[in-house]
């Protein structure tokens, strides 16, 4: 793998940039792999990367029906935080946060993880109770966080309307300084490059059309490029997980919903943190390019169309203008939609399945991007060992039968 550095850039400039290597190969599928990952998004590529790097398992293929990183990795609002309420999810996301903190160096690929802090606003007394509960829990779980009052919020975001005149005045917020945003595409590309360099085959434009199952055990997959054998298969296909599960003969407690987001035209720096409001219902940050990146809630119906209802966008921008009256004349450049796989308890599934050797990692709903490194790291361990990593254990499919849900709806009321 070509090492990236500032010095390298200068060297390449002198040769007119004609000597840069491919960041990943375009290999021909082998007959069989030790592990096949279905889904070449951030989570799938991270899984492959850590399988190779941590567990030394390099005879791995990542099978992607489109282009790598082309699903939700390419369509999210890039927020990274770990201040989740319940111990189980907090542990999961904090594990991920720690990996984020060294990710650019680990991958030798600058994923532009910007720890600009995330504010979760409270507008009602109950919001504030929930915030206190979450921050207290976070602190005892070793996760940074503070409860701010209105003035504390205003100090961090002077351009926000924190006055009493607002319909739902800002009463305070939780503040996680280590949280922030990252360059979403770079995450997928960085993992792809790192995995490829360690021998992982990334098979793009390859669609899994079925699973080869013998005696209740998965032995490979059918694809549009022929059958490929595998000892272990891990599905990391977000919105399409339900479709894959159906191919393998079982159902998941998942529904795929549209989740919309939008960006403004690029502006000079005006907002240097991430602001989220469950109650007024919108969240916003500013990207390195200057776009205001704004997220909406999910639409209530099942949808694989990568688009949702316009009314959702209207409501979101109403919330943004309510919080930031100065943005009224700023213009929305583009809107788009992702397909998010939502679980009834707003927590993921990292689990074995009724088919031996077949594992699923899905159900990240609206919050999957931030989990990318942690999810890949834990799922790689699960695939390598053939049983759930301790952090994954609470997120087994069984919980929907025993009732042991990890209900994060309070923490994920607004999609992020």
């Amino acid at each position: 793998m070509q090492h990236y550095s500032g010095f390298g850039l200068v060297k390449h400039a002198l040769s007119h940039h004609e000597n840069w290597q491919r960041q990943w190969r375009n290999p021909t599928p082998k007959k069989e792999y030790d592990v096949i990952i279905v889904g070449g998004g951030g989570h799938g590529l991270a899984t492959a990367y850590y399988l190779a790097k941590v567990h030394g398992i390099t005879n791995v293929a990542v099978i992607e029906k489109g282009w790598l990183g082309g699903g939700n990795t390419a369509r999210n609002t890039t927020i990274v935080r770990s201040n989740y309420l319940w111990d189980e999810s907090a542990a999961l996301y904090e594990h991920s946060m720690k990996l984020w903190e060294g990710l650019s160096q680990d991958l030798n690929y600058n994923v532009m993880f910007s720890q600009r802090g995330v504010l979760n606003l409270g507008h009602t007394l109950q919001d504030m109770r929930d915030i206190q509960r979450r921050v207290n829990a976070n602190r005892l779980n070793g996760i940074d966080g503070e409860v701010l009052d209105t003035k504390g919020v205003q100090d961090i975001v002077p351009i926000m309307d924190c006055s009493k005149n607002a319909r739902y005045p800002v009463m305070g917020a939780s503040w996680q300084p280590r949280a922030g945003v990252a360059r979403h595409d770079a995450v997928a590309w960085g993992y792809a490059r790192g995995a490829d360099a360690r021998g992982v085959d990334i098979l793009q434009q390859t669609e899994v059309t079925g699973f080869k199952i013998h005696d209740g055990r998965v032995v490979g997959v059918h694809t549009n490029r022929g059958d490929i054998g595998a000892k272990t298969v891990g599905c990391v296909a977000s919105g399409n997980s339900g479709v894959l599960a159906k191919m393998a003969g079982f159902k998941l407690p998942i529904e795929s919903h549209p989740l919309q987001a939008l960006v403004s035209e690029p502006l000079k720096p005006v907002l240097d943190t991430v602001v989220m409001s469950n109650h007024v219902h919108g969240y916003i940050s500013q990207s390195d390019k200057g776009d205001l990146v704004i997220g909406a809630g999910i639409d209530g119906y099942v949808g694989y169309g990568q688009r949702g209802s316009y009314a959702t966008v209207e409501h979101t921008l109403q919330a943004i203008v309510e919080m930031f009256p100065i943005f009224s004349r700023v213009r929305m450049n583009r809107q788009w939609g992702g397909i998010v796989d939502t679980c009834p308890d707003a927590c993921p599934i990292l689990s074995a399945t009724p088919v031996k050797g077949l594992f699923f990692n899905c159900g990240w709903g609206t919050g999957g991007f931030k989990a990318t490194p942690g999810s890949g790291h834990i799922f790689a361990a699960t695939l390598a060992k053939g049983k759930a990593h301790p952090l994954a254990a609470p997120f087994s499919i069984d919980r929907f039968h025993t009732g042991a849900l990890v209900d994060e709806h309070g923490a994920a009321g607004v999609a992020h």
Partner: protein
């Protein structure tokens, strides 16, 4: 300043209306009918901006929505700032003030330009990903500078003085685009009786006909436009919307149109007179949509094609014919098609020199070619401009013979002195709207462009589907107008109206050329720009493909091509063609890009509409709201309701704090009497012979034996066993009940019951009707409640006649009332329901009589304290969707042996709901009486353990009790019901650790005697 480039005559501008404007601090003049861009060109302003990555000088390229460079900051005052306005779409008005968005200290002498020259070398696509990684600690510092250099315009710093609005529209046929196709389709649909909405993004309708050389019905095209518009505006079934951009096409023919109502008049909507909205967002539900958006001309990609003076051929014609502006003196035209020859004709007719036309075709022929030849214009076949010379303005064009197949320059390079290079590489249909709902466009080799895929309810016509010759456009559009009208179900004879007469023009075939080859390979040639706004070059795309980015989506993301505010209207196809060349594929194999709304950017304000400020969200008021306001109540938002939170008194000029007010209110209730406006509680009237059975199914407890005249508290779960809502339900008649719900749960419970009734149990005879707003509810509570009420009611309040959990009817203050003896405070309480119109009368009468008892109004905060002292839960505060009735210790409210398996019951026997260590509802008594625990504080058993600590629960409610004289709390604790008397610890963020004892959640009057007195 004189308008050096303004033609003496011609154009559609209004020379009788001179206007002054300011650009980059300098004053200029223009005319009514100008755009900012045409006025800048008229004044000889070459450089309008600096490019964002390389800081190169940039000029105006286009004349419409596709303009990538002339993006300016508008506004004379702070509040009226508008970032990123395209000068080509901004009408000039008196006093318009604009400036470039990049360039320091100014666009003419830009110091960043030096940096730009360097970064041109060191900043290939993706360079961010390859550097700034060491040391990790410095990344946030690097990032600060990266951010500073990004962005175009700036946000205003003050709130917008203007308002915006939505308007909902419905029509048979929506026609988008008022060029020849749109006009023809509109007039056809309108004459056939369709309800028509006809919109166009420009200041004036007419599209390409406004600068056309052609004749329609023997009159200049622009004159024909006027005639058709006159007819359309006289028809009552037609809504004409100029200055209105169709910016989003959504499912089932829902289209958003953004109408700029006052942006052509000034920085802000005119003041004085009645208030107007600055913009109107039309939300159109159209039975049929006719897309007549035309096509954008494609520039050719050659070296230094970004130097000011490089324009689109069609834009040059537009500036000359529509605005009476010469963008230069000496023109070199580089083309691949016949249509662009008109620019040479327009140029020469305006009295300036056409140096040459470089035509990429080996043997150009066609009417326009012949016309140019006959005018003596030099035509250089099989050649193109391969490089522009000049730094701040084009000084020459390098023209050479090229071979497109081998992608090479095959002849001598001739340097032609000129100040303007206009190029035309063909036309890209404006398919954006047709792909907003996910339909993939289709590539057509014959027109060298993408056309719309099939979209239900949408008919594309004219240029947008690759029909370019005017006579064919008109025929196609008339047909589209008829088809759309019929498809909309309009009853009509559907006769195509007489087609206007247009001479058929013989054009030669166009050839395919995107990037023009240079003598040097792309990586070494001077920059050949593909996406001008994002500084994406042909070399950048080549590098991306070299590094393995092979899908067009990868290439776009790696290079940022198409991510600008122009969304790649000029560059995308060229970029795809370059990628196709590098990857040795065809353009459709490289992929299509699916456009997303918006077609052009729309202000947040317009999308938000009137739903902001005072109208952001409804404020719901009870019938007693005015009284609360006049008493100086502080309000709490509960859902959309405004509820009094507490009533601070001003004593000796000093206003009580919340703590003081709440203590006073609490003691008043416990010692005398208080009154609460409880009107916001949800109320549902339930009638029918199966009402009782239905209640038994949706509530956890039993309802079979509740007598008429009695009230019962009930819990409602979802089928996962988790508590969803609670409230009391009264038996009004054998088949008649009145249910109350929580304030926030009212609508949800109503829909919940309808859901079960309509989908699972339609055989039950029962009806539900919301009566939340009909009844006003006032709770009088406290030891003196009976005495007060007795003064103004005819109801027998005798404690044995009217017992706790009874209800009675009668009058209160002369108004018919239902009175419920239920208590949320633990005190003797009467909840009075009267028709809301009479509530104020009853309330005031209570106060007239209550003065002697020190009747004290209290708000939600006191209500919370009083109920917490009694261990009564608030759903949503003490529960969070993971709490069962058993967790709450409310087994007394669970009908385990009811015959029907009520909602939630089965889930209680799942392994997880049977766990002994579930979090259970308890009271907490802080060891230190002065302490009021923090709500949300986490509970641990061992305060000395290391982080992460094992948490066993949290505080759900916590208050100071003025009655008890100490703080107390409610909490959920793992296995809490078995831990009574144990000590737990609450480690706080500041390091303090509180101790508390687990106790019963009932702190006041544990035997419940007071409510029974």
């Amino acid at each position: 300043m004189t308008q050096v480039n303004r033609l003496k005559q011609g154009g559609r501008i209004d020379r009788s209306r001179p206007l002054k404007f300011v650009f980059n601090g300098q004053q200029y003049a223009g005319y009514g009918g100008d755009t900012l861009a045409s006025a800048l060109l008229a004044n000889g302003v070459d450089i309008v901006n600096r490019s964002f990555k390389y800081s190169r000088p940039r000029g105006i390229v286009a004349a419409g929505a596709e303009e990538p460079n002339a993006v300016v900051q508008l506004g004379a005052t702070e509040a009226a700032q508008v970032p990123n306005v395209r000068a080509t779409q901004q009408a000039l008005y008196q006093g318009l003030t604009a400036r470039s968005t990049n360039g320091w200290p100014n666009v003419q002498r830009d110091l960043m330009g030096m940096v730009g020259k360097l970064s041109g070398t060191f900043m290939p696509p993706g360079f961010y990903y390859k550097t700034f990684m060491a040391p990790a600690s410095l990344w946030m510092t690097y990032e600060k500078y990266i951010r500073k250099s990004a962005g175009l315009g700036r946000s205003p710093a003050e709130p917008d003085p203007d308002s915006y609005e939505h308007i909902n529209q419905h029509c048979d046929v929506l026609i988008i685009g008022a060029g020849p196709a749109g006009l023809t389709a509109a007039v056809t649909a309108a004459r056939n009786g369709a309800r028509v909405i006809f919109c166009d993004e420009q200041e004036e309708m007419g599209g390409s006909l406004l600068d056309s050389r052609e004749l329609i019905d023997d009159m200049p095209a622009a004159q024909w436009v006027d005639r058709i518009l006159d007819e359309l505006s006289s028809l009552s079934n037609v809504t004409l919307l100029p200055r209105t951009t169709a910016n989003g096409y959504h499912d089932h023919n829902f289209v958003t149109l953004h109408e700029r109502r006052t942006e052509h008049l000034g920085d802000s909507a005119p003041t004085g007179g009645r208030r107007q909205a600055r913009a109107r967002l039309h939300r159109v539900r159209a039975s049929q949509v006719v897309l007549a958006a035309g096509a954008h001309e494609r520039p050719l990609v050659y070296a230094n094609n970004d130097v000011p003076g490089n324009l689109l051929a069609g834009a040059v014609s537009t500036y000359i014919r529509r605005y009476g502006v010469m963008p230069g003196q000496k023109l070199v035209l580089s083309v691949t098609n016949d249509h662009a020859y008109r620019t040479a004709l327009d140029w020469q007719e305006a009295g300036c020199e056409v140096v040459a036309i470089a035509d990429a075709r080996a043997n150009p022929k066609g009417e326009l070619v012949e016309k140019a030849q006959s005018l003596g214009i030099r035509i250089i076949a099989q050649s193109a401009v391969i490089e522009a010379k000049g730094s701040n303005r084009v000084s020459a064009a390098c023209v050479a013979k090229i071979d497109a197949d081998s992608f090479s320059v095959v002849g001598r390079v001739e340097e032609l002195a000129c100040d303007t290079i206009a190029s035309s590489g063909g036309y890209s249909p404006v398919i954006h709207l047709s792909s907003h709902t996910g339909t993939r466009p289709l590539w057509r080799d014959d027109i060298l462009g993408f056309v719309p895929g099939e979209v239900k309810g949408l008919t594309a016509t004219g240029g947008v589907r690759g029909v370019y010759p005017l006579h064919e456009v008109i025929r196609d559009a008339a047909d589209a107008g008829v088809r759309a009208t019929l498809a909309a179900g309009v009853k009509t004879h559907a006769e195509a109206t007489t087609l206007p007469q247009v001479a058929a023009r013989q054009d030669g075939e166009a050839c395919a050329l995107y990037q023009v080859p240079h003598r040097k390979p792309s990586m070494r040639a001077p920059k050949q720009f593909v996406d001008l706004q994002n500084d994406v070059t042909a070399a950048g795309i080549e590098l991306a493909t070299r590094e393995g980015f092979e899908s067009i989506e990868h290439i776009k993301r790696y290079t940022a091509m198409g991510f600008g505010t122009d969304q790649g209207k000029l560059g995308n196809i060229n970029g795809m063609a370059i990628a196709a060349r590098c990857l040795k594929r065809t353009i459709p194999e490289v992929g299509t890009t699916v456009f997303r709304p918006n077609y052009t950017p729309v202000t947040f304000g317009a999308i938000a509409g009137r739903h902001c400020r005072d109208l952001f969200d409804p404020e719901r008021y009870t019938a007693l709201h005015q009284w609360h306001v006049e008493q100086g109540a502080e309000f709490e938002d509960v859902g959309q309701w405004k509820r009094p939170w507490y009533f601070p008194r001003t004593v000796n000029g000093k206003k009580e704090t919340m703590h003081e007010a709440v203590s006073r209110e609490c003691l008043a209730v416990r010692e005398h009497i208080g009154i609460l406006d409880a009107s916001t509680l949800g109320k549902i009237d339930i009638q029918g012979p199966d009402a009782r059975e239905f209640l038994g199914r949706v509530y956890t407890n039993k309802w079979a034996k509740l007598d008429v005249g009695r009230v019962r508290y009930g819990l409602m779960c979802k089928d996962d066993g988790m508590l969803m809502d609670d409230g009391t339900t009264s038996c009004l008649g054998e088949n008649h009940f009145l249910m109350t719900t929580t304030t926030g749960g009212a609508a949800g419970v109503m829909e919940w019951m309808e859901l079960w009734h309509q989908t699972e149990w339609p055989e039950l005879d029962v009806y539900f009707t919301s009566v939340t707003d009909h009844w006003a509810t006032m709770t009088v509570t406290g030891p003196d409640a009976r005495k007060l009420l007795a003064e103004i009611t005819d109801i027998d309040l005798d404690k044995d006649q009217f017992k706790f959990m009874d209800w009675r009817e009668g009058t209160v203050a002369g108004v018919p009332a239902r009175v419920f003896r239920i208590s949320f405070t633990g005190e003797l309480s009467y909840e009075i329901n009267v028709q809301a119109n009479y509530a104020m009368h009853v309330w005031k009468t209570l106060f007239e009589h209550g003065e002697k008892y020190e009747l004290t109004p209290y708000g939600t905060e006191t209500m919370h304290v009083l109920r917490a002292e009694k261990g009564l839960i608030i759903v949503g505060q003490d529960t969070d969707g993971s709490v069962t009735p058993e967790d709450l210790g409310m087994q007394w409210a669970i009908g385990y042996d009811k015959p029907f398996t009520w909602i939630g019951k089965r889930a209680l026997s799942r392994p997880d709901t049977r766990r002994a260590d579930r979090k259970q509802f308890v009271g907490l008594k802080p060891k230190d009486a002065k302490v009021v625990l923090e709500e949300g504080a986490q509970i641990v058993l061992d305060p000395n353990q290391s982080i992460p600590m094992a948490m066993v629960g949290h505080v759900t409610s916590s208050y100071y009790s003025p009655t008890l004289g100490h703080g107390f709390a409610l909490a959920v604790v793992k296995g809490g019901h078995q831990r009574m008397g144990e000590t737990v610890y609450l480690p706080m963020v500041d390091g303090t650790v509180y101790e508390a004892e687990i106790v019963s959640p009932v702190f006041v009057d544990p035997k419940g005697e007071r409510q029974h007195v």
